[in-house]
């Protein structure tokens, strides 16, 4: 029976999907070039659409290559790439890091950048570690103070300030 942590999209199918995503991306780049009138050639010289078209061609050709290669591998060696794209722990960490950091970006204007980043550090140490609160809180606050000294005091970076004044 399949373990709970091994469920989900398998690597071998994820590779096929990856190739397809690149093909779609290449087509989207070409469509935007057309829509926004980024010409390939302008007055006997390369236009603004020249490099995007070349990069789209490269992405598209490689996307086709990855798709074909992955499909052929599926047929050739059905047992290969059985592992899931990411384990449960990896998904948890992924959403924790990206989610908390995205929330920090959103709330930085209201809570102050240093304050929200300190909060993110505390929560990450607590839940990503996982470490006890008695470790997470002092390390997080200490890092926040060091960041304040380096970036705000020393490097004079202007950061969004919250109700606490930093």
């Amino acid at each position: 029976m399949e373990k709970k942590s091994e469920r989900g999209l398998k690597i071998k199918y994820a590779n096929v999907l990856l190739g397809a995503v690149f093909i779609v991306l290449a087509l989207a780049i070409l469509y935007i070039c057309q829509r926004d009138d980024m010409q390939f050639y302008v007055k006997r010289a390369p236009g603004p659409g020249f490099m995007p078209t070349l990069s789209a061609a490269l992405i598209g050709v490689c996307g086709v290559g990855i798709t074909i290669q992955s499909v052929l591998r599926l047929k050739k060696d059905a047992a290969a790439g059985e592992a899931p794209l990411a384990t449960r722990d990896e998904w948890k960490n992924f959403f924790l890091v990206i989610g908390l950091s995205a929330a920090a970006v959103f709330f930085a204007k209201y809570g102050g950048l240093i304050t929200v980043i300190t909060l993110v550090i505390v929560l990450l140490i607590r839940f990503l570690g996982p470490e006890p609160w008695k470790t997470a809180i002092p390390v997080g606050i200490g890092t926040g103070v060091i960041m304040y000294l380096i970036f705000v005091v020393l490097l004079k970076v202007h950061v969004p300030v919250g109700p606490l004044g930093f």
Binding site: I32, A45, P52, I59, S101, I117, I150, L155
Partner: protein, 504 residues
């Protein structure tokens, strides 16, 4: 004579206590970062780059260079002590380093790794010093066509040589080229892929992309790995006396160090080849030429010396194309080149002519950096080993905090933090699906220059691409680029041929 005069100028620049301090900080951070499994030189430079904002260019680049060669050595600490290389360039060091530690000789292995790294690094600075100005003078004759060909060579070699699958390497390069086109078109001023966003008009900087692809992605991935090994080494086992190899061991190692250094330097000069390949080739060469080649892999000291000198020599070699031609050959040098541009310095043949103090200051800092590295290793290795005991959960949280703050501090924009997070997420999937990130970062750094040079070359030839292929130097470079593009298939073909021959 002129060379010595230039070097003296460089040393006078580096004699500034602030520059020395930053060199020291860079080497210390580099050793620590290199020692942490998963965090290599590219990640280290990307994470610590924000600390150089607003710094004097010499101090800034000296610090980044210190991180680079500090990390090259740092990778060997975990390779030897816990059989977990800090970065890919230290993989070969595990083969004999860890068995040496297991046999109760960790200090000798760490000591030889340090001495070999420092000898490799110092000797290759001399080669660098002799070679760089010559290449720079040669490159002065280059037109936009040759520069375009060089950029293509840099991109194809790194895309073709990194990772197992050339398609994935090239798709990463393609994505990087596409990202570099976002913003205002340099020639006609047309907006490209901005979707009306003011933030996107200035384009996407490579630093948040690099911090996301290397830093965030690595942490998400590494924090879920639960196979970390515990270090049970005592301070007693790392005493200075024990770290110094015997006369007999020096006799065994020195020829391999000499060969590995020269080999490593020239492999490092080749764009895309890098320290990993250099250490692999040097280990292989040492195994073939050693009197006790059959014992390699069981804990012989030459097996530690050969890859370690080569990977440090390669890191110096990689600076040659970056500084003289403006073509970085690896992820780490790509980030350093971006930093140079950030400091207002344009890498290329004019760097040594227009900014001699900066260029020669960097060269002199390489000597000083190696001495600092030696002193650090001798005096502070037990401390580094203690730092390795910091729990990953704590370290990951702190590093993410610095990445978020660093990406904001670059332009004082929250938008850049968003870019870092976006590419962090992309980088995680890249890592899982084995799409190499280095070609993407390199393409973002080189994209603008590549496009501008190609368009200039074609405009000069009435819009014809013949401008690029009809010039002998650019044509030769493009042929090499095509060959390098197929580096992986050629490598595997040679390996198959070699295996077949051996089987017979």
């Amino acid at each position: 004579m002129e060379l010595l005069h230039n070097l003296a100028t460089g040393f006078s620049v580096c004699a500034d206590p602030i520059v020395l301090l930053y060199c020291f900080i860079g080497v210390v951070c580099g050793v620590i970062i290199g020692a942490l499994p998963g965090l290599g030189p590219s990640t280290g430079i990307a994470i610590l780059l924000p600390l150089t904002y607003g710094m004097d260019p010499v101090a800034g680049i000296v610090m980044l260079a210190g991180i680079y060669y500090g990390a090259m050595y740092g990778g060997s600490i975990t390779a030897i002590l816990i059989n977990t290389p800090g970065d890919s360039a230290a993989v070969m060091t595990t083969l004999d380093g860890y068995p040496m530690a297991a046999k109760g000789r960790p200090a000798q292995a760490l000591g030889m790794a340090a001495y070999a790294s420092i000898i490799g690094g110092s000797v290759s600075v001399v080669i660098f010093m002799l070679l760089a100005p010559v290449i720079a003078k040669f490159a002065l004759a280059f037109s936009p066509a040759e520069y375009f060909a060089l950029m293509v060579m840099g991109l194809t070699s790194i895309a073709g040589m990194t990772g197992d699958d050339p398609f994935k390497g090239f798709v990463a390069a393609g994505l990087g080229l596409f990202v570099s086109t976002i913003g205002m078109d340099a020639v006609l001023g047309t907006q490209r892929f901005t979707f009306g966003s003011v933030q996107l008009m200035g384009g996407i900087d490579f630093i948040p992309v690099a911090m996301g692809l290397f830093g965030i992605a690595e942490i998400i991935y590494a924090s879920a790995q639960k196979d970390g090994k515990k270090i049970t080494i005592t301070r007693e086992e790392l005493r200075f006396r024990k770290m110094f190899p015997t006369r007999e061991e020096w006799g065994l190692c020195l020829p391999h160090i000499a060969r590995g250094t020269v080999l490593g330097f020239f492999v490092g000069v080749l764009p895309g080849a890098g320290a990993t390949i250099a250490s692999f080739l040097s280990y292989d060469l040492a195994k073939k030429t050693s009197k006790r080649g059959d014992q390699f892999g069981t804990g012989v000291i030459e097996g530690v010396a050969a890859p370690e000198c080569a990977n440090n020599a390669a890191s110096m070699g990689a600076m040659v194309p970056m500084l003289t031609l403006g073509v970085p050959g690896s992820g780490a040098t790509a980030i350093m080149m971006g930093a140079l541009l950030m400091f207002g310095m344009t890498p290329g043949p004019y760097l040594f002519d227009k900014n001699p103090e900066f260029a020669w200051g960097l060269v002199a800092s390489m000597y000083i950096g190696n001495i600092i590295l030696l002193l650090l290793v001798i005096s502070a290795l037990p401390l580094f080993v203690t730092i390795l005991k910091v729990r990953p959960g704590v370290l990951n949280g702190v590093v993410i905090g610095f990445i978020l703050m660093g990406s904001y501090a670059m332009n004082n924009r929250l938008f850049d933090v968003g870019v870092t997070l976006f590419f962090g997420a992309v980088g995680f999937f890249f890592k899982k699906l084995k799409v190499p990130a280095a070609p993407m970062v390199l393409a973002i750094v080189l994209g603008y220059i590549t496009e501008t040079n190609l368009r200039q070359a074609m405009i000069m030839n009435k819009g014809s691409f013949a401008a690029v292929i009809s010039r002998p130097i650019s044509a030769v470079i493009l042929i090499i680029a095509v060959l390098l593009a197929f580096g992986t298939p050629i490598k595997s073909f040679i390996a198959r041929l070699f295996a077949k021959k051996q089987a017979e």
